[in-house]
């Protein structure tokens, strides 16, 4: 369940890099840990974040968690469909449940590949 082509943050966000652009979401592991989602709070178009900045929050029937930018970025678009249907993140975290499209403005060096992230999830799960 961990797509090979994506990059990952230890805080369970994924990043799909496409040249200067990217898409951010949370991982299958993260949505599973949170349980049924009830609300996703996303930033606005044009907002900028440094890697590690909080960009929004996600609430489930169990808990509310902050989400952190995996890379320096500017928000190009947010997934407005989540406003009415946060469950899309549960159903398809790497597809319809994407969170925001960004312009990448910093290095992605610090991020994990699929194998390294898998180790993180194994440690977190235990």
């Amino acid at each position: 369940m961990i797509p090979q082509e994506l990059l990952y943050a230890k805080s369970h966000e994924w990043l799909k890099v496409d040249g200067e652009n990217g898409i951010i979401g949370i991982t299958h592991f993260a949505q599973e840990q949170l349980g049924d989602l009830t609300f996703v709070e996303l930033p606005q178009e044009g907002d900028t974040f440094a890697a590690g900045d909080e960009f929004g929050s996600i609430e489930s029937v169990k808990a509310a968690s902050e989400m952190y930018a995996p890379v320096d970025c500017e928000v190009v678009a947010v997934n407005e469909a989540l406003e009415d249907a946060p469950e899309k993140v549960n159903e398809d975290p790497y597809g319809d449940g994407w969170l925001m499209k960004i312009k990448i403005t910093g290095p992605t060096d610090g991020l994990l590949d699929a194998a390294a992230y898998e180790k993180v999830t194994e440690e977190d799960a235990h």
Binding site: F39, E41, E59, A64
Partner: protein, 443 residues
């Protein structure tokens, strides 16, 4: 954890950490004349003596005046059952209902209160109440600022001036730009307000009926406000919402009001009750508590606090407000009052109040030199221009047992001759007649 006072050793330890010798040194900053010891209070008295003294002081109040005072707070009849039911110990002493398993009654009452408020205002959601109408207005303003991320707030000068003062002082350090649009002879200046809205505007704030009693339909203006992606905030007088076009019908995003007029007595300025309602799109921005109805795993109905991820007790740093308490008991009184009256009863209360006010306006303006100041439709309150200073008239009539109203000049410079007069279902035609005749003889 039991309450354990500090032992002398613990006090010594704390003082050592701070680096002072004694508790007295700790308070050295406070001048001795401001210390309780310097107050030279008289020796303690017996309970009987204290009661006698308090009764003597209380007897100095005049309590049998006929009042036409409104200006945001109104003397409506409160059914006796409101006192009886709301003073049941389950409600009177209830702990803030964080734990649904021990607070079902309180939570259900809050849920029903919210439902009643949302229906009355024609809005989607209500919270479990805040302190008073003024703080509800401030919270509504901050909701708009958070939602739009803009700083400009356009305020009608016909909004209750007490609320405007509160808004000014609450937002002093928030770098908001408050723009007050002057009233037009007591009318809300719809044209100027509409013209002032632009892409930097977070919200416009208007009131219906406005401070001068004048009734508006803001539907078209709110459409214009929304074209600029700003929000429309409407302050209301809840009793009148039973007979007027509601904020929801006009397209308001947030409607607020003070619940005093439904179930709380006029009592030297409180306690009051802040009503807050909003559209579905804004419910996440609403401060305070919201009770919801749900089902347990056996399908039984249960009530819980909901959408509270930003409540003070869960993620304090994310809280939408630093006002941490609601007015649960006052909200309960409002709910009971509404349930006893029903839709029809509330409408009758409003209609009677309006009829009495219109009769009063007729009687007062029949006096030479007294003219309507409020132009156009009005509800249970209106302003008249007098040929003399309104403050002096109030002094003279109060001596004769009648409080004729509120002096508009207290908040609006240049309108010292304008008197704001309110009626409720409690006002009798006889009282209005006496008021008119005494006024005629006074001016």
């Amino acid at each position: 954890m039991p309450y354990v006072p500090h032992s002398p050793e613990e006090i010594r330890e704390m003082l050592d950490v701070i680096g002072v010798d004694s508790v007295e040194d700790l308070f050295a900053e406070i001048p001795t004349e401001l210390r309780p010891k310097s107050f030279a209070l008289p020796k303690g008295k017996s309970e009987m003596a204290v009661l006698q003294q308090l009764e003597e002081m209380a007897a100095k109040n005049t309590t049998d005046l006929t009042s036409f005072l409104g200006a945001g707070f109104y003397d409506h009849f409160i059914p006796t059952a409101v006192d009886a039911l709301s003073s049941r110990s389950e409600f009177y002493t209830a702990y803030t209902p964080y734990q649904p398993e021990s607070s079902q009654g309180t939570l259900q009452a809050i849920f029903e209160y919210q439902t009643a408020m949302a229906r009355l205002m024609g809005m989607d959601y209500a919270n479990a109440s805040v302190y008073d109408g003024g703080s509800a207005l401030y919270e509504a303003t901050l909701m708009a600022v958070r939602k739009t991320r803009r700083k400009k707030i356009i305020v009608s000068e016909a909004l209750n001036p007490i609320y405007r003062v509160m808004l000014d002082s609450y937002t002093t350090n928030l770098n908001l730009e408050l723009i007050t649009v002057p009233h037009n002879h007591g009318r809300t200046n719809v044209k100027s307000i509409t013209a002032a809205v632009d892409k930097d505007t977070a919200a416009v704030i208007v009131q219906n009926p406005n401070f001068f009693g004048s009734v508006n339909d803001f539907t078209e203006m709110f459409e214009k406000v929304h074209e600029h992606k700003a929000l429309a905030i409407m302050s209301t007088y809840p009793v009148m919402q039973s007979v007027l076009k509601t904020p929801g019908q006009m397209g308001a995003d947030i409607a607020i009001g003070d619940g005093q007029s439904i179930g709380q007595p006029l009592s030297f300025g409180g306690p009051y009750l802040g009503i807050m309602t909003c559209t579905k799109a804004l419910v996440r921005q609403m401060p305070g508590r919201i009770a919801g109805r749900t089902e347990d795993e056996d399908g039984k109905t249960g009530y819980v606090l909901t959408i509270q991820a930003r409540e003070q007790h869960i993620r304090r740093q994310k809280a939408t407000s630093n006002i941490c308490s609601n007015q649960a008991l006052c909200a309960l009184r409002t709910l009971i009052h509404l349930c006893l009256l029903g839709e029809e009863g509330l409408r009758r209360t409003a209609t009677l109040s309006v009829e009495r006010a219109h009769y009063a306006a007729e009687r007062l303006t029949a006096i030479d030199g007294v003219e309507m100041f409020t132009k156009g439709p009005f509800g249970n309150e209106f302003a008249v221009s007098l040929p003399v200073n309104a403050f002096e008239v109030i002094d003279k009539l109060t001596e004769r047992g009648i409080i004729p109203g509120f002096p508009v000049g207290r908040y609006y410079e240049g309108f010292e001759n304008v008197l704001l007069v309110a009626c409720t279902e409690k006002t009798t035609e006889e009282q209005i007649g006496i008021f008119a005749e005494i006024l005629r003889g006074t001016i």
